[in-house]
Amino acid sequence: MVTAPVQPSTKREVVFSARGISKVYRMGEVTIHALRGVDLDLYAGELVVMLGASGSGKSTLLNIMGGLDSASEGTLRYRDQALSGVSDRELTRFRREHVGFVFQFYNMIPSLTARENIAIVTDIADNPMRPEEALDLVGLADRMDHFPSQLSGGEQQRVAIARAIAKRPAVLLCDEPTGALDSKTGIKVLQVIEHINEEIGTTTAIITHNEVIGRMADRVIRLKDGRVDEEHRNDRRADPAELKW
């Protein structure tokens, strides 16, 4: 069941526009349809939460929007720039200039300290924060010289978020940013994301399994079997501090 996209209350600029996005993985004789025709618009400054069962295609969609992967079919635009059918080099430039990622598996570089894990991004960004500043935002300023192996899973996750926001990206894509965190730390992390979204007007997409987090979004999108199953707009964005799980 596909519902028509909900119209924004105020006319806002479309940042991402996806039409008929499919993704097929071929593994020997098996083909896996990770996405089967996704239509989706994201608007400037919007905070979207994506929900869906495991294997429903959330990460795949996020990766394609972030220019990490390309769709097997369909078109994708970022503002006036095509992201489908373009060269690897253009995707790379797109990622470098516009996107901040928070990965499902943290993906720290083990041989770099927390600060350096952030610096590796700010090194090639236009107008970044200082890594220390970003770490301060996630409350880890005192751990900046620690290596990932010396940090807990949650702490690594927070460094990953600091790393994603440090470049002040136009688009922030977070794959289960709170998956590994207790609710108190999780809320702290969500507050940072919200803060960036408000402050810089970063268009933000958060993948989560946690229904509660949907309440802080402008819009909630549900994926099922590689399709947009349902979406709805919140009347009011809840402050992350109000969330409980």
Partner: protein, 787 residues
Amino acid sequence: MLTLHRKLLRDLAGLKGQVAAIAVVIAGGVMTLMISVTSLDAIRLSMDRFYATHQLGDVFASVNRAPEVIAERLREIPGINLVETRVVAPVRLEVPGFDDPVRGTLLSVPDGRQPSLNRLHLVAGSLPESGRANQVVVSEPFAEAHGLGMGDRLRVIIRGRYETLVISGIALSPEFIYQVAPTDLLPDYERYAVMWMNRRALGNAFAMDGAFNSVVASVQAGASTASVIEHLDRLLAPYGGIGAHDREDLMSHRILQEEIAQLRVMAVVLPGVFLGVSAFLLSVLMGRIVNTQRQQIAVIKAFGYDDRDLAVHYALLTGLMVAVGVALGIALGSITGDLMAALYAEYFRFPETVTRLQLRVVVLAALVAAFAAGLGTFRSVAAAVRLPPAQAMRPPAPEQFRQGWMDRTAAGQWLAQTTRIILRNLSRHRLKSAMTITGIGLSGALLLLGSYQFNAVTHMIDTQYRKVLKMDTHVTFIEPTSAHVLAELRALPGVHYAEGYRSVPVRLRNGHLSERNAIEGLPASPQLRGLVDRSLRPIELPADGLFMTDFLADQLELRPGDRVLVEIMEGRRRVLEMTLAGTVDEPLGLGTYMRLDALNALMREGPAITGAWLLSDPDRRDALYARLWDAPRVAGIGMISQAEDGLRQYMEDTVLVLMSILLLLAGSITFALVYNNARIAFAERARELATLRVLGFTRAQVGWVLIGEIALLTLLALPVAWLLGTLFAWLLSLAFSMDMIRIPFHITHQSYAFAAAGVLVASLLSVVLIARRLRHLDMVAALKSIE
């Protein structure tokens, strides 16, 4: 500093052991390249310069005695440029304070001035003054060996008469860069002297007034040396010419050429092997790094680093390892290079050793190493660059295994679970296992090669002195002498046995191929001079027909049964056709042999000999030599046992030193390979091993998973090592087959055992180091990290 570069340094630091291992191998390549290219360059340049500045002749001829007027006719030979006639006299001398007999060659220089060819380089003092009969110039190494200086006196016996000569100068000659007595292979500066004195004085003393017995000539640019030689031979034949020859048959030049040829082989083979192995090691290591860093690569790409950044990153990683290796190699190369230069300076006497900019060699070495590294890592880096960022970010899927014989057969069921893990891993990574086996096999092959060299050289010397030259003393006569002299020799103090031989200078021809050589006439079954076949069985000389060193037969493209043209260069010139009856195997020198009686018949003479071999009592040898020196017909005495000692010393000094270095390097390569491999296996398995530990397997069981794999791979690598090593040894024995010395293709069981032991020890050492890591295997950390 860019953070990406910091990651580089951290990665390197984390791979210390492996980086060091690879660096050592690269260093080995760079070092051997530097040593051989520098030595090659130095010898060639120094030789060329010495020849050019001191006018080494192109053609050389000896005669019995020719009147000086003939010189004018020689100068008219078409194509000939300068002609220098001279007197060359074998002499004996006494050096104050030195008891052993000393042999010498005394050459004439024009009264009071430099000859136009083979000019002397005076290191000190001056040429004999014009008109002075008692002044002599001595060669530098001889002067050094005895601490002789200007004004020192020498007692020289020329034709049985004592002359006291005063040293007026010390010199080097382009003709005697490698200064060796006529019957010897190796220099003995204490017991052999080269000296020069005025022509008139020497002529008087040697009964060569107004005559000469040696000619040196230069050939005009563009003229044919062969035709000059032919003319010379024709003009000099009536005066006892034994055939002119070009530089190739000049002992000193010949040895230099062989040294250059050896260095050429070395310059390619050794660095090739080392750098090949390092390329292999790098490719395995980089492959592994890229594999374990798949996710990091993906993340870095996700951040917006492009392919070039990543290519540069991983190329730099390799580059740094290469840089460390090259730096180490250069350091080692310049240390050992100086050592080698000193060694060469001992054997080859140049007025100046020309060493060109080392920079060129260094750059060459670095480029070759970088090229090898590039070859080794290109694939991994390309793979890293190609990784799609999204794909790599998923945790690696569990590898696919198939059910195999282990699951179906009873034997398989019986295997312990841990052993099955080993076998599954190996069969799953067949290519990688094969690469590892090849790599370890390669390093084992190097060990075998090194050990082969050690043994082959010893074997060669043993063969030469136990099977071929069984005499301890070699006497040559000034001219063919009746065989009755043997009875007199046997009567000398301490002589147990004496055997005579006849030597006739010849030129052997087969079609356009020709070689100067001498036919030695021997008793049918000589007691003191062994002729042996390839399996060292003695050969019986047939009543007619020639035997030849197999290497000489090969050079003339002759096989047993073929006809060969023999041009007799003594007495009346004749060309005969003879049959090659068979070949003999000798590691040193080239010879042609036939029955003494047949040779005497051929020369239309009675039973005559030109030399004899003696077996004597070591304790009475001094007395024997004293008597021999005073015998009027004796031209020279070869002290074979001393020559053997000298040869063994020389081999120790050069070949074995070099081979020890090689062996050391091969050992470290073996260790590097095995250790590297074990480390990689450990890193790849850490998670699996930790999981096994968590599941309750004991440390020993878990250790077996890793160590058993190393052990199995090592065992499988042994036959590969033997096979490759045998191949290497064979190639090397081919490459090192030269006129003077041939290293036999002879691999002992000990060599095979040694190679195996080396590999096993290296494995054991790696296992010990890995076991230490295994003990500290942090279960929690291994499980926590995604990597």
